[in-house]
């Protein structure tokens, strides 16, 4: 369903072409200072860049309907609403009969029937990630209060890969400097060119987003089913287009030997650290005080302007479809802030669950 989290609970609502999208964020402790600007700043990072994104540009102004008064949280659920403006639903009617490949049209119709809202992807739209970003800004403020920082960047776009080891402080800055959200400005230029090429060809491309979180104390997470990996993965897989999630060594671990993979312990500055971080900062589902390190694979945008095979559901016969619309040739850059937000939301919930963030004003 549309709610996630145990002590920090996010409920999403809205659809791409309805009045708007939004969320309820319940469980934020009272007395937290948070301005509309803090939220807006993150939301702005999700907007498509002029050159490389979709021509649909929404102002995406945050409206706070509840839970924050005079820039302080009251302890009541926070409600964020983001109105839709630039909607053009006319072209979605035909997808009810001829579903778009790579989209949820077919399954949504099957499950919800004729009254389902498919306009702009309805509740399956990437637009549903806007309130996640807004809520994530609040989660980051919660985390910042105990010294935790989260940052993501575009590590791969098609065949262009950023192979360098990166530290959070570099990512954080660099990735806001270019519309690709890349950590390396030169690679960013190559990536922009790749996207422009895709646009010209009426095609799209995928990528990989890497997210780091530092400052998490040891022991955050719950054993077994509510492990950090499990909770993070569940959240991350709800972002439309995500096809894979891995932590630390991830799929590379399959090729490794134990002697190479085990992160050996050392004392450094009076603290227990590991020499490597193949664990991605997590042992037994609990944080081990090394950076949380995760990677998310994003598929190429499903909407492409090329002709594709599809079926006519009324006549039950083969046909073709051409999806015109306004789309991003690559959603990876816009998804970077979404991955950051999703990660922050889970970490904040887990910190509440483990008493690492105080729930109470006391």
């Amino acid at each position: 369903m549309n709610t996630i989290g145990t002590l920090l609970r996010l409920t999403l609502f809205g659809s791409s072409h309805g009045p708007g999208v939004g969320c309820v964020l319940d469980g934020v402790p009272s007395g937290l200072y948070i301005t509309e600007d803090d939220i807006q700043r993150d939301l702005d990072l999700r907007r498509p860049a002029a050159s490389i994104g979709t021509p649909r540009v929404e102002a995406d102004r945050v409206e706070l309907l509840a839970g924050i008064q005079d820039d302080f949280t009251t302890g009541a659920p926070i409600v964020i609403f983001i109105a839709n403006h630039d909607t053009d639903s006319s072209k979605y009617i035909k997808f009810r009969t001829v579903p778009r490949p790579g989209h949820a049209d077919l399954t949504a119709l099957n499950r919800y029937g004729d009254t389902v809202d498919l306009r702009g992807g309805g509740q399956f739209s990437g637009r549903m990630t806007a309130p996640i970003v807004a809520a994530g800004a609040i989660a980051k403020t919660m985390l910042a209060s105990i010294g935790v920082q989260v940052a993501a960047y575009t590590q791969r776009l098609g065949c262009l890969v950023d192979e360098k080891e990166r530290y959070l402080k570099d990512i954080r800055h660099a990735s806001r400097e270019n519309p690709i959200r890349a950590a390396d400005p030169e690679l960013a230029l190559d990536m922009i060119n790749e996207i422009m090429a895709m646009k010209e060809e009426g095609d799209s491309v995928g990528g990989v987003i890497r997210c780091l979180a530092v400052g998490l104390p040891m022991g955050v997470g719950e054993p077994y089913f509510d492990s950090l990996e499990g909770e993070l993965a569940k959240m991350l897989f709800s972002i439309p287009g995500v096809k894979g999630v891995e932590f630390g060594s991830g799929f590379r671990s399959a090729e490794m030997r134990g002697s190479e993979h085990n992160d050996q312990f050392i004392i450094e500055d009076g603290e227990v650290r590991t020499i490597t971080n193949n664990a991605g900062g997590i042992l037994g589902g609990l944080s081990n005080s090394m950076p949380i390190d995760l990677r998310v694979a994003i598929k190429p945008t499903a909407s492409i302007s090329r002709e594709q095979r599809s079926v006519d559901l009324e006549r039950m016969e083969d046909t073709t479809i051409k999806v015109d619309g306004r789309h991003d040739p690559c959603i990876v850059p816009r998804a970077v802030i979404v991955v950051e937000a999703a990660t922050a939301l889970v970490l904040a919930d887990m910190c509440l669950r483990g008493d690492f963030i105080a729930r109470e004003h006391r």
Copy 2:
């Protein structure tokens, strides 16, 4: 925590060296025929093979403490208990001071303090997967009642990869014929040799398990946070040693173009099908009636007999550790049935949630 699922709810308990391990499986409809043998058969697939596994061999006899009477489910929670016998806890005392690299010793101690049970990994032990396998056998019976089948196999072990496309019916049979749970008998021999080599070197190796599910009707899954991917990933990441989860094209999708990645629709035998299955059988979080196709990366066993760097937590100084114990040089073969069970448990829950399996006797 140790409970997962919405309408089919699994609660795990026990520890590696306590009286035993087990689980409560709540929400199984009444009137389902299931014998102790059905459960035992799956559990036996999790036992280490003589040549390639750990010398610790548990009989792992299923005991049904509740919920099944005269081989039929009563509708009450099913309780499965598996006693521990072959435990040798003596050597675990030192890990309280010198934590093993790659294990949860350090984080568990930090979080639970002195009274934590670290013997054999305590509640972080791979042994906790035994009740998951037992519960999974029941979930498979539920799924079979609506024509859904689940099967997994070892697709990669270190550098040995099974590149062939595979169909469920082949996997199911083949993977039970060899101790590696490989779909290809010749590759299985190579993999056995690889494991033997690791054993000799006192080292270990990782791998990849692929799991398929066929027969799932269209529309199983819940939108957004309770998507099939999200629910499956959460469950799969709770299996100790899992570092990555991907669906369909997974991480390869990052390198693909939309025109290549989109699964185009066709009519086949009067049904809507897709030509390719990069989606892994899931669109918008809902099953699209193509096979569910997922892959799980497993890290090399953390317990290796080589000397490794660690720290003395009392003196807070560097030291080394050699983990003798009885271990599998590769847990992938034993994890195959666990991945199968975990997948089945989630699918059965999602089928209940979507009314695809009747909850009621009526």
Copy 3:
């Protein structure tokens, strides 16, 4: 927290003097016909009657922000917003120092600290029941689709008691004919007089609301903790002012003998029925096809215009307080529709959980 329900999930938000109050209702099947008027009609029943209620009169216009398109549910979460207009927050400042007896001021301040919103009771306000009523209207539509009807009435107001046995069809009509929501028009007049007397005396009075639900098939409910009684009670106790909940014979059962209390079975019109209904329609937590019969005790309104003892929290010394404000001398009449809605919401969720209402369009 502010979310309740398993498959039909209600999330409340807002506060008495913020921009508005509202809710997200997730899990409503798609394809249900429901108009804004249907919702508005119930909401209007919650408005204070001119003569007997608070002078604060809110238009309470329903705004549908998501989940309903062209009067049909889409399957996405439904969002209802009700703007606040007639707010006067000035007088609430002093309650931060001198808490009102019978209100949540003291506990809310203690828990949420200085930034808590106490204006009009904040998130503890009776105004939070408006979105419950709105959501309840949708739940009733769901229930009506399987022939279930819910109706409540004022059974007691202070010392005035309606002793007659009542049937749903009578209640439903009668209770909408008078502002007291009484089933008996003459008793209603006495009750109005009682409220007028209270108003004059600057005092308030409590009462009892009885709620019936008929048409529920046998077997609705979940065993043990999610029994019909348990789920209904949890929901009902969240209505501000509720001090007791009982089913069927309720507290009277304590004085009864088994031979008198047991509802003996008979065959009537080919169906199994019980002669009496001390069980209140529930056996073992499951509906037994007799009417659900529950009663809710409501305390007298805490806001009275008489001087009361209180404390100055800054100086930590005794003082007195006089609560001017605009209040109902009795909230029972307005709470009738709230009890009806709360009951309907739980029953609809339980019907979904037991497959009695289909979750899917198929």
Copy 4:
């Protein structure tokens, strides 16, 4: 379903005539000292007294299968098992055709069909409360660690009522001195006589249990749906036979005026207190530091040896039934410790949720 609680999660299992009954209690912090004797002591209070109870006497020996090692909690889920011994299932066969009035036979059969376990009431049996009592003993230990005490007593049995105001310290002692669990030894004798009379007449009688909890800090509870009242009521209504739950003034509040009902504040020993406690220690769903005060109505035992009307479900015709069996003429005395346990379990969960009990060893 059979799981309740958010951070302290109880999962019940077993049935009256299967191998045994038990529970998993997840979320108990590590490092808590708790012996099998502590648990056994409470469980012994649930056993029927020789003179007034059922002839079925189970030894009810606690077995700890997981989560406690050397008398300290490890942080892993605690598993308690209580074997069944004195079972006689022969007489339950006929209830599959002719359901017993006041029991769950009919609804259970309807919902779970032929394979349901009705022996001894199956999973609807009062015997399911034994593991609740055992888990409650652990919850009490958790509460004791922050100075909270819980105690219940028989306040009413049929027409015999204990009208006196009672304090926790008196109840605690007195109610363990007599088999009725009454606070007043003389009233206890009358109550014993009443039960003996019922026994002779082949009839049964109901009663009221009152439960107090003192020492709870201010602010325990969650707003709205997870209010203290809501969470407590949900748990209490899962105890078989409970027909009503009220807090503080409860149903009496309906007859009261606000001026009389409001608990006015005073300063006492430097603390804010209320003069009366009509609120039952709860304001706005949160504890106000006055004693939690609740009352539970218990119906007369459904099993009576008199002939009653019932129906033959196969022939669908009227018939009569006489329930021989071994039963308590009044379950109130045995339910006292159950109410105490249920209350303690909820309060411990709510204290964890509000950070009043530390979740972590740190």
